[in-house]
């Protein structure tokens, strides 16, 4: 593991991505406890403020401190995105491995269905699920997780099949290893790498999708300060105080960039031959 970290930090993408993600995680964990104000506190005389010494990132239409709201909302954005990705990855990995392992008719039918489901544009699929479940942050999380599942199943299956064809797996079969050993010890360590990379990059998508759902009013509900919701609430005041939109919008983009960078760095670091 320290070896992997060293290799990761050697790539500029990995180092920058990791730094931003760590900073975001600290923000999310510490959250309101390091915020200068309560995210709900009104400052009637400081409405629509730009960045200042008192309010670092400005204030909204009620004079609430944008920085404090950003910190409070980090949890709803970041943790939910991670959880959604984890859900989709786990479900997809099980489905994909099963499909690759069972092969034959089961594999074929399963993959046809996965392909068909993937013919629904991802955001549309997520929207439909949220519509059924009802608009809330947790439901948005679940919907994104479900919407990720078919894609992750495809990726897992193709990685598993590639690994399955390797000579070291053939060598294990020829030497009489049990199926359990082959799947868990020979294949899994080689399958996990690419899936972790794929999942990392998908966290970026999850952050964006979560924020988009909140923006459309189908995710986190007020008074939450989920970042997408912050942008939505800023919409009527776009031309009065652009900071209200720029601050959360920039935060979303930055976290998504970080996961994209981190994923690319991880891909390089996980390749044992480089």
């Amino acid at each position: 593991m320290p070896d992997l970290l060293r290799r990761l930090l050697r790539t500029p993408q990995g180092a920058i991505g990791l730094a931003i993600i760590l900073a975001a995680l600290v923000m999310a964990i510490a959250g309101t406890s390091i915020a200068p104000y309560s995210p709900e506190q009104f400052h009637p005389r400081a409405r629509f403020g730009g960045p200042s010494a008192a309010f670092w990132l400005g204030t909204d239409q009620f004079g609430r401190d944008l920085f404090s709201r950003l910190l409070a909302g980090a949890r709803a954005t970041l943790f939910y995105a991670l959880a959604a990705t984890l859900l989709g990855t786990a479900a997809g990995a099980v489905l994909g491995t099963l499909s690759a392992f069972l092969g034959g008719l089961v594999d074929e039918v399963l993959m046809r269905i996965v392909d068909a489901v993937m013919a629904i544009p991802n955001l549309l699929f997520t929207l439909l699920i949220v519509t059924v479940l009802g608009a809330s942050g947790v439901n948005a999380l679940i919907a994104i997780g479900i919407a990720f599942t078919p894609g992750m199943a495809r990726v897992t299956r193709s990685v598993a099949l590639t690994v399955r064809r390797q000579d070291y797996v053939a060598a294990a079969i020829a030497r009489g290893e049990s199926s359990g050993y082959i799947v868990l010890r020979e294949m899994l360590p080689n399958v996990v790498g690419p899936i972790v990379v794929e999942a990392t990059i998908r966290v970026a998508f999850a952050v964006m999708a979560l924020a988009t759902l909140s923006f459309l009013g189908l995710g986190a509900q007020p008074p939450s300060s989920e970042w997408g919701l912050m942008v939505a609430e800023a919409r009527p005041y776009l031309f009065r105080n652009a900071w209200m939109m720029i601050v959360p919008g920039f935060a979303i983009a930055l976290v998504a960039i970080a996961f994209n960078l981190f994923g690319d760095g991880l891909r390089d670091a996980l390749n044992p031959r480089t």
Partner: protein, 530 residues
């Protein structure tokens, strides 16, 4: 005699600091062929690209000129070099499937040279291209011009590449392993074609190859490269017959020669067979839900047997079914027919139990693919020990050290990972893994074909030593006829999925032999002087 191409005291260092060439000198007169021989890392390919002035950014050159006729190529700009490449120096590459653009017709790729360097267009260019294709022995040239690379065979493609190399009537030709990717018989035809064209046009040629036996047949003189230096240069048969330098002597000694047997004993022909394939047929491809995929037959009705302690060679070109049989015997492909291990008859892969798996081990062609990249060498070697038990009274760690020692690797390698080892070393690990189960038969599937010739010789010596000590039988699959004739007791010849011949190594190619076997034997370049 006018010198067409000369390189004088030339050195090349790559951006990372790796010295590719050190003080290399050579000269090729008109009408002559200079062979350049070396193992991987010798700098032979770098030499070709240095002459073509096609070097990566950051390469540092030193020393004397690279002259084509009177021109010092090193003083030319890239734009000036473009007037020379393909026009005054032609080049033929190793793998025609890779060096031809898959999405352009063969015709376009030939005609573009004529357009670029001869200014030919339209019907004139097409007529000239057809004439060239006829010259390189292709029937129906008009049809060939319209084909895409994937619609032509390997030999046909290489003929097209040769045609485009000769298209602009160059004075010099660089050939970089032009037959290595081809099957034996096709390779021989390409070699004959080259020799014919070379004699006819009087082109000066630099022929690069790892295959000393082949080069000694093609070239007038041979230059031996080792780690970027010229070790020796002499007339072709002299290099082979009387190498002066130590390195050359070792290289020559490592080249398989069919007249030098490495195995003296003969197995007991009255002994009961150890392993036998009976009417074995292997099919690929599974029917799908939506379409019935046509099944291809990898091998058809193959019967052969291996006696205890015997080395049975299996030869054939790619796609002949030799590896298919190997994988079926190792329980990796479903098969029809039967396998007999001692007295037991096995009719399906699932019936190959622990005893069978232990008795029959397999070593694959690419060692870096057959060792799990995420497992340490120690862990890789511990698996067969865990499955089949370490020798009595020996701990796991000691057993692994003993295995490594057996294949002449230091015990400290147990902590390393496959990518930290060289190709020869990883193949030794794979061999150690096979022997850890103390098998009675080891299937060797092209195990030396990705290795340099000197490494190959070491691996072969290792195999023979292990057999001497343990009495293991080998099913030795290879495309290298010279090699197999050195070590095998009997040789099976496969062609298009069928076993066409199975005879003693000594009588192979005799009057009773199959036509294909004789064609194969004739095509193999044996070292000069043999």
């Amino acid at each position: 005699m006018s010198i067409v191409l000369s390189v004088t005291d030339y050195s090349l260092t790559y951006a990372g600091g790796a010295q590719a060439l050190i003080g290399v000198s050579l000269a090729i007169p008109r009408g002559r062929v200079l062979g350049v021989v070396g193992e991987s890392g010798s700098g032979k390919t770098s030499l070709a690209y240095a002459i073509m002035r096609y070097l990566p950014a950051g390469a540092v050159e030193a020393g004397g000129p690279i002259r084509l006729g009177e021109t010092d190529l090193r003083t030319l700009s890239q734009a000036q070099m473009r007037e020379i490449r393909g026009a005054r120096i032609g080049m033929v590459f190793q793998d025609p499937s890779a060096s031809l653009n898959p999405t352009l017709t063969l015709g376009e790729q030939l005609i573009e040279v004529l357009t670029r360097h001869k200014g030919l267009r339209g019907a004139e260019a097409r007529d000239r291209a057809e004439a060239l294709l006829v010259r390189v022995g292709l029937r129906d040239p008009a049809a060939m011009l319209r084909r895409y690379p994937h619609e032509a065979s390997g030999g046909e493609k290489q003929r097209v590449v040769i045609a485009s190399a000769f298209a602009a009537e160059p004075e010099c030709l660089l050939l970089d392993e032009p037959t290595t990717a081809l099957d034996v018989i096709t390779a021989r035809q390409i070699l004959d074609l080259f020799a014919e064209l070379q004699a006819e046009t009087g082109v000066a040629a630099l022929y690069i190859s790892h295959d000393l036996a082949l080069v000694s047949r093609v070239a007038d003189r041979v230059t031996v490269l080792h780690r970027g230096r010229v070790v020796e240069e002499d007339a072709a048969d002299e290099v082979f017959r009387a190498p002066r330098e130590d390195y050359t002597r070792r290289l020559v000694a490592a080249v398989p020669r069919p007249d030098v047997r490495l195995v003296a004993d003969t197995p007991d022909t009255t002994a009961a067979p150890l392993l036998a394939a009976e009417d074995m047929t292997v099919r690929y491809g599974r029917p799908s839900l939506f379409r019935r995929a046509p099944q291809t037959t990898g091998a058809r009705d193959v019967s052969l047997l291996v006696r205890p302690g015997e080395i049975l060679g299996v030869v054939g070109e790619s796609g002949s079914g030799k590896s298919t049989i190997a994988r079926a015997l190792a329980g990796l492909n479903p098969f029809e027919g039967a396998v007999r291990l001692g007295a037991r008859r096995i009719e399906r892969t699932s019936a190959m139990d622990r005893a069978y798996r232990r008795a029959v081990q397999i070593v694959f062609q690419h060692p870096d693919a057959s060792l799990n990249p995420r497992h340490s060498i120690g862990r890789i070697l511990s698996r067969p020990l865990a499955l089949y038990g370490a020798p009595e009274g020996v701990g796991r760690g000691d057993a692994i050290a003993a295995l490594l020692e057996e294949v002449q690797l230091p015990a400290s390698y147990a902590r390393r990972y496959p990518h930290q080892l060289s190709g020869g070393e990883t193949q030794r690990v794979a061999i150690a893994r096979a022997f850890a189960a103390r098998p009675s038969l080891v299937i060797c599937d092209e195990i030396t074909s990705s290795l340099d010739v000197s490494i190959q010789a070491q691996v072969i010596a290792l195999l023979l030593r292990l057999r001497e000590r343990l009495g293991t039988a080998y099913l030795f699959i290879t495309h290298d006829l010279n090699l197999v004739r050195q070590i095998a007791h009997r040789i099976a010849v496969m062609y298009r999925g069928e076993l066409v011949e199975l005879s003693d190594a000594g009588t192979l190619g005799g009057p009773a032999s199959h036509d294909y076997t004789r064609a194969l034997l004739q095509a193999v370049p044996t070292p000069a002087g043999v």
